[in-house]
Structures are given as C-alpha cells and as structure tokens.
C-alpha cells in the first residue's frame, strides 16, 4: 500500500518506513544510539528529500528513544543524574557547533570538514571499540580478576574538583567530566548533523567507565531530549518534518526499541560493544566508498535554505 507524504511531496510504500523503523529501532534499544547515521541516508535512498529525511528522523527518534528509555528504566538501567549532566554539556556543545558550521560555511569548505570529521570519528571509534572489546572478551576468559591499573588519564580525571558519586552507574567523577565530554560530543554532532549517540556511547563506556547496560539506557534518555529540541526547531524554522512519514517510522521503531532492549539484556556488555563496533565500521566503509566512487548524478536536492 502506498501513502502520500504531504511535506516530502512524494509517495512511498508503507512497508519501507515501517521496516526501516523496526530495524533502526532495534539497534536503538540494543545500543543506545538514535540511528540517524543509518536512517537518514536510507530515507534519502528511497526518494525522501535530504532536509525532510533528517528532520523527520529526529521526530521518529523521539518515539523510539521514549520507548527504549522506558524499557531500560523499568529494569533500572537509566542514570538520570549522569544523563542530565551530559545533556547540559551537549546543549552548550550544540550551540558552539552551530557557530562553527557558520564559520566553516563562510570559508567555503564546510562539506570537506564535515565529511572528514565523520569518517575519522566513525573510523577511530569503531576500530578502538572493536579491538578493545575483543581484547576484554579474551581477557575475561583467562583471568577473572580485574587488574585495576589506573592510567594517567584516570588519575587526571580523579584530580578534578566537584567530585560527585553517580549511584546508578557506580562511578565517581568530577561533575565537569560529563559536562565537558557532553559538550565535545555536542559540537561534533552539530557539525556532522547527527544525534551523536555513536560518539556518546563510547565516551560513557571508556571515559566515564559506566557499565554497558546503564550506558544504553542513559544514552537513550539524553537522545530523547536532544531530538525533542531538534524536531521542534526543524518544524519551526525549516518546515521539514513530515508527520505521516514520522508516524510510519515510529510504528516500527517503538516496537523495535522494545525488542532491542529485551535482546540487550541477554547479551554481555562486550558482545554489544563488538556488534556496535562492526556496524560503525561498516558505515565508515560505506561513506568511504561514497566519497571515492563516481556518483551517478552530479546534482542533488539542495539542503536547507
């Protein structure tokens, strides 16, 4: 069955958005990412204009992350305190990132910087996560005792003022740490035009040392608020949210997020990290191909105004 999308001004087979929603929602519930880095290009591939694809995806993520946060909250896997600090940092970072984009656009090489940031970030994060989680899986098998060698990084973080305990995550950090790293992810996310879940998850795992299951729930919690803000701004300033498309997507993604949360509980933290790393690396490879192979069309729908 085909439905007409009033803002995207195109017609789509309903099975496509519902199916995409289901798949991306599943990833969202499993790993605590919004999945924008997968969903937006897929929607564009199916003929949705790029601005509408990005805006509508953020609307859909509101639903998927509500569903996912709810599922993780029920089993006590959301650290609201940590989420709030990250959110504040992310908000400030977003404002800075938007300014950075303005400066880049004025100098005329915005696209180059954006694409390179994207590839480098995905590549570094994916590779690091992949090898680290493989190593820790092997280590777990041979010796159960945790070697708590504190790196200089950890020592530095411990020396910062405003130390506070995060009960749910079972970690103690300076309040500045989530604020600063939230801000850092916010800047990059704004530059790349993505939610930044795939950056926030590694920050929480490797820098904030939170347990993987709490990471997923907390990440979804802060993604939820980010996407509410983005959806509103997109609807208000760009008029690019397609309500019908969002409803079709969220039909799949809300259910997918629940299924993902259930599956996630059955997998170990390391297994989750390895799978997420593989997905991130696949996306990196795909972007590299896109950058180097000759495109079939040299003109594309203009983005924004």
């Amino acid at each position: 069955m085909y439905l007409y999308l009033p803002v995207a001004l195109t017609s789509i087979n309903v099975l496509i958005p519902v199916g995409l929603g289901l798949a991306v929602g599943l990833l969202s519930g499993l790993f605590g990412v919004g999945g924008g880095f997968l969903m937006t290009p897929l929607l564009i591939m199916f003929g949705i204009p790029s601005t509408v694809a990005a805006a509508t995806d953020s609307n859909q993520i509101v639903a998927a992350s509500t569903s996912g946060t709810y599922a993780h909250w029920k089993v006590g896997n959301v650290d609201f305190k940590m989420g709030l600090y990250l959110l504040i940092g992310g908000f400030i970072g977003g404002l800075l990132g938007v300014q950075a984009i303005k400066i880049l656009k004025a100098t005329g090489n915005a696209d180059f910087v954006i694409k390179m940031t994207y590839v480098l970030m995905l590549g570094i994060v994916g590779t690091y996560m992949f090898f680290e989680s493989l190593a820790s899986m092997r280590k777990k098998k041979t010796e159960e005792v945790k070697t708590s060698k504190e790196s200089s990084m950890v020592k530095f973080l411990k020396s910062l003022p405003l130390q506070t305990h995060f009960e749910k995550s079972g970690v103690t950090h300076s309040a500045l740490v989530p604020l600063i790293f939230g801000c850092f992810v916010g800047v990059l996310a704004a530059i790349m035009g993505v939610g930044g879940g795939f950056l926030m998850v590694p920050v929480m795992v490797y820098i904030l040392r939170m347990p993987m299951h709490v990471v997923v729930g907390t990440s979804l919690f802060q993604i939820l608020f980010n996407c509410i803000e983005v959806t509103f701004l997109q609807a208000y300033t760009n008029h690019s949210v397609d309500f019908i498309l969002a409803v079709l997507l969220l039909l799949g993604s809300t259910i997918g997020a629940q299924v993902g949360a259930v599956f996630g509980r059955k997998l170990k933290g390391e297994q989750l990290k390895v799978i997420l790393a593989v997905i991130v690396l696949l996306v990196t490879v795909k972007i590299i191909f896109e950058l180097t192979l000759s495109p079939s069309l040299l003109l594309a729908q203009g983005g924004g105004h």
């Binding site: 509500t66 709810y70 696209d111 509410i228 959806t231 997020a257 950058l291 040299l298 003109l299 203009g302």
Partner: protein, 264 residues
C-alpha cells in the same frame, strides 16, 4: 519580491495574449487544432501514487504534432558535486537554475528533429537545447560549463521522472477529413502541486502552423492539504503535535510491552 512577481505575471499574461493573437493569425489557414486533457484536475489525497493524463484532440490531416507539458518557470537550487583533492566526491557548492520548469514533458509524432526546424524549436522552447538557452544558471558559467551542467540537470530531472521526451507514442486516426490524436502520459507522483500547461503544436513543413492549449491542475486535498498547510503556516503547533504524538507512541508501546512481557 512583490514587484517582481507582478512583473512576471504581467509578462506571462501579455505573452499569453500575444501568442493567442499570433495563433489566431496563423490559424487563419485552418482553425482545426483542438486539445483537451482528460484528468485536468488531479487530487493528491492520502493514497495518491501518481495518475495518468490523456490528451486528445483533432488537427488538420497530414500534420505532425508536438505535445509539450510544462509547469510555470521557476527557480531551483541544487547541490553540485565535484572532486576535492583529486579523488573525493563532495558537495562543492550550490547551482541555481532560473526559469527552469519543474516538469517538462515532450512528445512528438515522429523524431523531433525530423518534424521541426531548429529555429522553430528555439522559438517555442521545444526540446532540451531550447530549454538550455531559456534557463539561466547562477553563479554564471561559460557555455561549455553551462551545457555540461544543464545535461546533469536533465539527468537529475529524468531520474525523478519530471523530465521526459519521447516520439512515436501519439496515436493518430483520420476520420471525416480530420485527424484525431490521442496520447496517454503517466503522471508522476513526484510532480508537485500546481498548474501545468499542455501545449499542442500542429506542424507542417518543419514549421509550427497552429497551437492549442489545455491545462492540468494538481492540488492537494483532505488530510494531505491540511497537514502540508499546517507544516508551512503553523510550524510551532505542528512541531509540538509531532513531538507529543511521538512521546505518546513511545510510552504507549512501552506500556503494551510491559503488560505483554510481565508474565515471566
């Protein structure tokens, strides 16, 4: 902006009148050509997936016919891809196309080059070459570049079924010393709402001898119209409803799963 619109409208009306008068003079030979578009009013509703437009009419016997469907001239900004650092394909800027119709369909009874002379094609903006001359690009480029990017523009439009040209698909039958013609065009769902003009040219000896016009109106109706209107005119309310609906759906599904999964 208003003044520009006004000038543009006046221009359209004046040219329309002149064309009408011209065709009156020309048709002094024989006022035979007629054109009607069946499905001249296409409603875009919730289940719209494109439509079909048939054009039929009568003409002088032994004339060739050229049928052109266009939307009013508009401007569109497209992102231009190019190579950066020798091997990376990226967006390298925006190219604006002025006086370019969103839709351009051309059908002719035989190959267009065999039917019309180049001068006539340019005069009536028939064919891609004529259209290329008609369109302006911004930032301005030299002729070679313009030809290259216009070709890309056509490929982009053809990929979303908004530009097309064909020949030999117009059916012709002769009856009572008149020629009846008929063509059925698939109407793409990608074509945005608006008023489209169908122009039929009767051609003899490589010259246009008569023209006739019909129009096709594409309009949004019902839910599609109200949603599109609200998204455009009441963005904040539309945004809030979208967010609330998403929150509601997320919680709703969460509750359902809690009940369903509560057994174990």
């Amino acid at each position: 902006m208003r003044i520009r619109e006004f000038v543009a409208k006046t221009l359209v009306i004046t040219t329309g009148t002149i064309l009408g008068l011209l065709s009156l003079f020309q048709s002094g030979v024989s006022a035979e050509l007629t054109a009607t578009a069946n499905h001249d009013h296409i409603n875009i509703d919730f289940f719209y997936h494109g439509s079909a437009v048939s054009i039929r009419g009568t003409s002088d016997p032994a004339t060739d016919l050229v049928i052109k469907i266009t939307s009013p001239d508009g401007h569109q900004a497209l992102r231009k891809k190019g190579k950066v650092a020798g091997f990376l394909w990226m967006n390298v800027g925006t190219l604006r196309f002025e006086h370019a119709p969103a839709l351009y369909y051309l059908d002719s009874t035989r190959k267009i080059q065999d039917v019309l002379s180049r001068e006539e094609m340019l005069k009536y903006t028939i064919g891609y070459e004529a259209l290329q001359r008609h369109v302006d690009m911004e930032p301005a480029v030299d002729e070679n570049e313009k030809a290259k990017w216009f070709q890309e523009f056509v490929r982009f439009k053809e990929s979303s079924k908004l530009y097309s040209r064909s020949s030999g698909n117009i059916a012709r039958t002769e009856k009572d010393g008149k020629q009846n013609y008929y063509i059925l065009n698939e109407w793409p769902y990608q074509a945005p709402p608006g008023r489209y003009t169908v122009t039929v040219y009767a051609v003899k000896d490589k010259k246009v001898i008569e023209t006739a016009e019909a129009s096709v109106l594409v309009e949004q109706v019902g839910i599609v119209k109200s949603l599109a209107g609200m998204a455009k005119n009441n963005g904040s309310l539309y945004g809030m409803i979208s967010i609330l609906a998403a929150l509601g759906a997320g919680f709703g599904v969460g509750m359902v799963f809690r009940k369903g999964g509560g057994a174990h």
